[in-house]
């Protein structure tokens, strides 16, 4: 079975690209508020309770109430803060989270329209570039707040970044070598016979673990650490700036799950006609998001030194070994 691989640099009319990006943006933005309420309801279920069920039918209007509450709040700025950086930091975070949506492929080229934002030739490097940029947002937020809790949170996120982003990149390299292309559509196209999760199970596990660290989710939520750092880098934020950090966090979870699905779980592949492809993609991504929530309900937060030694002594050698073995197999066969 051969699947046509989308050309990298495939050009479309400008209006098509505008319409596509608006649809993807609005679609994902409709999903994110549902994710926030889904997370709270699921965590409730994992703890033998219901979760929010008072606002609207079965609590589905909860995100609306949250957003109205946040929008109505004062955007407080501490006196010691650096005003410009303090204001721009949440913008950087949310920008880099949204921009990464563009490369998630929701389907192959159908009727001359690629069901993705853009198929850039650097592919996955684009994801890493903007993933690193979002850490600038966290660092600037922590530094410019003029608060020690924020600063500690920012330092932790910096340390976490250098510990995990290397392993994350290396975990995807195995797939890139097997496919022979950085393009995400090509990566999905190469999984027609066998999803990469089977030959690259080690890479998948490493990517998921690093993904938890990348999105600052439990058990790697040290930069936020509600218990000891009172939300870390976003301690001093209020109102919609605070809300935008939350929004960015859920967007990042969605994006990281989407990348994991694209690289390891066959992307848009699934039974049914071609127009079902985006449905498959979103369904797979949402089930990975559910896994993120499940893990948050299960695991306690790691201690700082455990996090570091796990990243450097555990994940990094494992990821290196994984690409070494993959390289040998790819070269031999």
């Amino acid at each position: 079975m051969s699947i046509p691989i989308a050309d990298v640099g495939y050009t479309e009319a400008v209006w098509v690209m505008v319409v596509k990006s608006v649809i993807i943006f609005l679609g994902v933005f409709a999903i994110v508020p549902i994710l926030t309420v889904a997370e709270r309801k699921l965590i409730g279920r994992f703890q033998n309770r219901y979760g929010p069920n008072r606002v609207g039918p079965v609590g589905l209007m909860q995100p609306l109430a949250d957003i109205i509450k946040l929008a109505g709040k004062e955007m407080f700025r501490p006196q010691a803060a650096v005003p410009f950086l303090f204001a721009i930091a949440p913008a950087i975070v949310i920008f880099s989270a949204i921009v990464t949506l563009a490369i998630l492929p929701f389907g192959n080229v159908q009727d001359g329209i690629g069901l993705y934002g853009i198929d850039v030739s650097i592919g996955i490097l684009y994801f890493f570039a903007f993933g690193s940029l979002s850490f600038y947002g966290l660092l600037l937020a922590g530094w410019s707040s003029g608060s020690k809790y924020s600063f500690l949170g920012a330092m932790r996120s910096a340390a976490q970044l250098i510990s995990y982003e290397v392993s994350m990149g290396l975990s995807l390299l195995g797939v890139v070598m097997m496919t022979g292309s950085l393009s995400l559509t090509a990566v999905v196209g190469g999984q027609g016979e066998l999803w990469n999760v089977i030959p690259q199970i080690v890479g998948f596990l490493i990517f998921m673990v690093a993904g938890f660290a990348e999105t600052n989710r439990a058990p790697f939520d040290l930069p936020e650490a509600d218990a000891e750092l009172v939300q870390g880098y976003m301690t001093e934020y209020g109102g919609m700036r605070f809300g935008s950090y939350l929004l960015a966090e859920y967007l990042e979870i969605f994006v990281v799950s989407g990348i994991a699905v694209t690289f390891f779980l066959g992307g848009w592949m699934g039974p049914g006609p071609g127009w079902l492809d985006p449905v498959w993609m979103v369904a797979k991504t949402l089930s990975l998001v559910t896994f993120f929530i499940w893990v948050r309900a299960t695991l306690p937060r790691l201690r700082y030194d455990q996090l570091m030694s796990f990243g450097w002594k555990g994940l990094l050698p494992l990821a290196t070994l994984n690409i070494l073995v993959t390289a040998v197999i790819v070269t031999v066969s």
Binding site: G44, R45, Y50, A297, T298
Partner: protein, 192 residues
């Protein structure tokens, strides 16, 4: 993990004086963390943890949706007090002896008694309670008043929803205590 009596792997030659001691317990410690074995065990424990939390999903919520659903109380539950009348004559049981006020450790009962008018009796005894007030914001629901009462005139009821906006509204007068409570709390059935 319980400390088990395990003498299998102990080298007893180092402790000649303990050779035949039966009550020596060698403590078994868990494997050291770290290394490949540690990573393997951590992975296994993570999966076990995921199974545990998923089991909670299958169990389902145990929440009682309080304002809509109420917890049933036991028959001996000590809720808001009730004053009683004789069922046949309709006279109050309370004779205003103030024993409940004397027994009350929180000092929340106030009784002012008066002589009964023989033409128009209020209680069955010689005297009756002209004023009978319980300050529920002070009451500790110990039930001593119920025990002290020689005529079973005051008992502890089953009502537990007594919040109010003013402290003065929590002083219950005789009329309020004599009246049947509007919202009855569900009573727990036998064997429930």
């Amino acid at each position: 993990m319980e400390a088990r009596l395990n003498t299998e792997h102990t080298d007893w030659s180092a402790f000649p004086y303990l050779e035949n001691a039966e009550d020596v317990i060698s403590v078994q410690r868990g494997p050291k963390p770290g290394g490949i074995g540690g990573a393997y065990r951590a992975f296994g424990e993570t999966l076990r943890g995921l199974r545990t939390t998923f089991g909670r999903v299958i169990e389902g919520p145990v929440t009682i949706q309080y304002p809509e659903e109420k917890t049933a109380v036991y028959p001996r539950f000590r809720g808001r007090h009730k004053l009683h009348r004789f069922e046949d004559s309709g006279l109050e049981k309370c004779v205003g002896c103030s024993l409940c006020a004397a027994a009350c450790p929180a000092d929340c009962i106030r009784v002012v008694s008066d002589e009964n008018d023989p033409e128009n009796r209020i209680s069955a005894g010689e005297r009756y309670a002209e004023v009978y007030e319980i300050n529920l914001s002070r009451c500790i629901f110990c039930g001593y008043c119920e025990v002290a009462c020689p005529f079973d005139a005051i008992t502890m009821g089953h009502d537990y929803e007594m919040s109010d906006y003013n402290r003065s509204d929590l002083i219950f007068t005789k009329e309020m205590l004599l009246a049947e409570p509007i919202d009855r709390s569900p009573l727990r059935m036998e064997g429930e």
